[in-house]
């Protein structure tokens, strides 16, 4: 069964929470809602689940209009950022709770809870209460509750956000495996582009209540439709250069000029915005069209194999992400190189120009 939003919007008085949205999630697909905090991810999920009634448009599920159908009557499950479990029930009872409501017989409940506990490594904790579990185990319990009832639509609202790094990585690896042989639609909200890339599937970029782009994850990453989508789907943030093209050169700020060679040659004269991903900016000239940019170093983050350098250039904050250790001193002026051949070109309204 597929989930379809047709012009779904939500507004409260003059406040628009969700702009009218069209979206189709295919059966068995893994869909990611990517956006910053307050972008509307949770609201979008509530609209999909039926926890919130849209003020415009209709929600279709499996070819049926389910707008306004109570969430109780839909086969939906949801996992939240906070670990939501029934506080005074054991882990077993927690996982069994949706099945009990559905009046499934005891032997079947036992079998399904057993399978689910095995899958989520909860078997030794079945008789404990949620308060006696670690955060990771609490969230596993919540996930087991969501998965045990074979919902048609599983909504995961930043389920890993409250976990510490190690647990997050662990669960992140397990997640795709949990859904691999299920035909439910999964919708996963996250603020982290890395998670979207890890899970693959489809990604919807969400910005201020608007879906700016929806498509296969790799496609959205490689070919953002506009500047906002590129910004949402870039971590560290994408570098922005406001340039003007005159003849065969781009002018960047007061004193930087670089040739508008190759594919750029076809662009008409005028003002453009270039988006350069951090890993295309490096301390050494790399790539096909390395353009020197002079900046003032703000912060350097060195990990074992990677340097992330934050610096200001022409009033904008840029980030360079490169292999190796480049110990630039904070507060100094340095020259870095941006590979402009990899730059994404946007027009004055932030729309992508394919070149």
């Amino acid at each position: 069964m597929s989930l379809e939003l047709r012009g779904v919007g939500l507004r409260a008085g003059a406040d628009i929470h969700i702009h009218p949205t069209d979206l189709v999630c295919e059966p068995g697909s893994f869909n990611i809602l990517l956006g910053t905090t307050l972008a509307g991810k949770t609201t979008m999920m509530k609209l999909m689940a039926g926890l919130e009634r849209p003020t415009a448009g209709t929600v279709w599920f499996g070819g049926q209009d389910v707008t306004g159908v109570s969430v109780r009557r839909r086969n939906v499950s949801m996992v939240y950022q906070q670990f939501i479990n029934y506080p005074n029930m054991s882990v077993y009872e927690n996982i069994a709770s949706p099945l009990r409501v559905a009046k499934i017989d005891e032997a079947e409940i036992k079998r399904r809870v057993g399978t689910m506990a095995e899958l989520l490594k909860l078997s030794p904790m079945l008789s404990r209460r949620p308060s006696e579990l670690s955060g990771g185990q609490q969230q596993r319990t919540a996930m087991a509750r969501a998965l045990v009832k074979d919902a048609d639509l599983v909504l995961l609202d930043e389920p890993l956000a409250n976990l510490d790094f190690k647990l997050r990585e662990e669960l992140r690896d397990e997640l795709p495996r949990l859904f691999a042989d299920r035909d439910c639609i999964v919708v996963y909200a996250t603020t982290e582009p890395v998670e979207a890339l890890l899970f693959g599937g489809h990604t919807a970029c969400l910005h201020e209540g608007r879906v700016t782009q929806f498509g296969p994850t790799a496609e959205v990453y490689r070919n953002p439709r506009d500047l906002v989508s590129a910004q949402v789907f870039s971590e560290p943030p994408i570098n922005i250069a406001s340039v003007t093209k005159a003849g065969s050169v781009f002018r960047f700020g007061q004193d930087t000029e670089f040739p508008a060679s190759g594919a750029f040659a076809a662009l008409a004269d005028g003002a453009y915005t270039l988006g350069i991903r951090p890993h295309h900016v490096a301390p050494t000239p790399d790539g096909d069209n390395p353009v020197p940019v002079d900046g003032h170093v703000l912060v350097t983050e060195l990990s074992g194999s990677e340097s992330v350098i934050h610096f200001t250039v022409q009033g904008e904050t840029w980030v360079s992400q490169s292999h190796g250790i480049h110990p630039f001193e904070v507060g100094t002026d340095q020259r870095l190189f941006a590979d402009m051949s990899k730059a994404l070109v946007f027009d004055g309204d932030g729309r992508r120009i394919e070149i």
């Binding site: 926890l51 949801m78 906070q82 506080p87 029930m89 949706p98």
Partner: protein
């Protein structure tokens, strides 16, 4: 790690020790002192041992007062706690009515206790009070100054009016601290309203309700002001609870020895029952 062994810290505790000594330990020891001695005035004391304790524990008067006290306390607990939770559940969680409801609820708590007693006394008078007159007009033979049953009814009604708000406010605080996601999760599970109450709201309110029950238990066990203004323990001895009885013995009859012994027994009963309550409620928590 090296720990600094230094006794200087005790100096900083001294002011507290002094303060507690003056406002709690010394007065209490005075009472202990009275309870084991007999006096005939002129500050001359004779050792009496445990005589007063035996006398109080064997007296029928004390048994009756204690029984009435327990009956009163358990009655108001049985009414105020469920009623308070029920009112808290119906209060709005957000919106412009929240402060209105909270202020209305807090009002009875802000009225001085003797005023509460006086108010209810006048309110319930059968000849001029609104409540008393109305009840009589409706055909009930109501007179709280003459009939023990009516006196109890009025007393319990007054206490419920005065103190249910406390339970409401505590329960409400527990309720609003439950994240919305819990309710959504329950809705998604298809849980009925009673299941939401039983498995989400009640467990989440448990800690504040424990406090509410303890507070109401202790306060109701020590009720004096409102009761003394409303009925003064009458008619007869029908509403003479422990505190009223204690004041009658200590200040009415000036029997310092028995009064001191009774004070200590009274204190130990409250302490013991509070401990039992607390342990029972916390033991559930750990299971």
């Amino acid at each position: 790690m090296n720990k600094t062994h230094d006794n200087k810290a005790w100096f900083f505790v001294l002011p507290v020790v002094a303060l507690v000594a003056f406002n709690a330990v010394i007065p209490l020891m005075t009472v202990v002192n009275y309870s084991v001695q007999e006096t005939f005035g002129d500050n001359v004391f004779f050792w009496a041992g445990v005589m007063w304790f035996e006398q109080v524990l064997q007296s029928e008067r004390f048994h009756d007062a204690l029984f009435r006290q327990l009956a009163f306390t358990f009655t108001i607990l049985l009414i105020e706690v469920p009623l308070g939770v029920a009112i808290a559940l119906t209060m709005p969680k957000k919106g412009p009515w929240v402060p209105v409801c909270l202020v209305l609820m807090a009002l009875p708590l802000l009225i001085p206790w003797n005023v509460v007693g006086a108010m209810w006394n006048i309110f319930a008078l059968p000849d001029i009070g609104l409540l008393g007159r109305s009840l009589n007009a409706l055909g009930f033979d109501y007179n709280f100054t003459r009939q023990p049953g009516d006196a109890w009814f009025t007393l319990i009604l007054m206490d419920v009016w005065h103190w249910t708000s406390l339970v409401v406010l505590l329960a409400y605080a527990g309720l609003v601290s439950i994240p919305d996601a819990y309710y959504q999760a329950a809705k998604i599970d298809g849980a009925k309203p009673f299941a939401v109450f039983r498995y989400i709201q009640l467990p989440k309110m448990k800690r504040v309700l424990t406090i509410a029950v303890l507070l109401r238990f202790m306060d109701s066990f020590m009720i004096y002001t409102e009761l003394s203004v409303l009925t003064g323990g009458g008619p007869g001895n029908s509403t003479t609870l422990l505190s009223i009885d204690l004041v009658k013995i200590a200040l009415g009859q000036f029997d310092l020895g028995p009064a001191a012994a009774m004070s200590l027994i009274y204190f130990l009963i409250i302490l013991a029952l509070s401990w039992v309550f607390y342990t029972l409620m916390m033991r559930n928590e750990q299971q």
